[in-house]
Symmetry: C2
DNA sequence: GCCCGGTGTCAGAATCTCTTTACACCCCCG
DNA sequence: CGGGGGTGTAAAGAGATTCTGACACCGGGC
């Protein structure tokens, strides 16, 4: 994931994904190396269902990737790791991205 | 506002402010020049109370600034303009910002 | 006086996000 | 067989945001 321009909707999703203390802390923990869910839950002191929810959002925003590793003995462990990324935003980029927002018409120019 | 590192909480606020289609569209509109509230409401086709709410959030995040201009005849008009800004984020920056989050202890290191 | 265009706020509904509790299933070990 | 450690999800509650409608006030022009 690079700092490339994304569509407005993706920008909103990405911002929403980063707009959470829990998710920031999750990213921080994963930036130190991959970990599996239960371990992470212990480190961050939150129960797994909650962690799952946040991990899903992070994964949806392509900020982390999950990999379910099934050991030869059949036991399975799900590892997560952070995806390196770079975001560069300024007013112009935001204005540009806003044009690609779905759901409503572009709100006409200054016609007057 | 520069791309300087901010505290974790500020980061969350900023991300939250940008995580909204409406607010993105407001910023886009204001990037073309200052406008007053009612005009903006017409352009973006949303009612004023709603617009007010979003403007307040944007102002709280220092993305826009409002100025109530009272004409000599007594009529008042509130102009808003976008604040130029730059955000540069990557995984390391996020991890670093997460350490300055208030509200819970840093979630101890990998002590094992 | 009445209408029109402003600013500003409040109460309530609708909606979404976050959070917890509880459950289902799997595997190995004592 | 009864834990202990995993992965998942469903359901329901709590909380926060978002959105709408109605109101109050001000000034100008017909």
């Amino acid at each position: 994931m690079s700092g490339t321009l994304r569509t407005g909707d993706e920008l909103v999703s990405l911002m929403a994904a980063l707009a959470s203390p829990h998710r920031l802390r999750i990213l921080a923990a994963l930036s130190q190396g991959r970990t599996y869910v239960s371990e992470l839950a212990r480190r961050l002191q939150m129960n797994r269902p909650l962690l799952y929810m946040h991990l899903q959002k992070l994964e949806a925003a392509n900020l982390v990737t999950g990999e379910l590793v099934t050991a030869p003995d059949g036991s399975s462990v799900k590892y997560f790791q952070a995806t390196p990324f770079t975001v560069s935003l300024d007013l112009a980029a935001v204005a540009l991205a806003a044009q690609t927002l779905t759901g409503a018409e572009p709100a006409r120019e200054q016609e007057k």
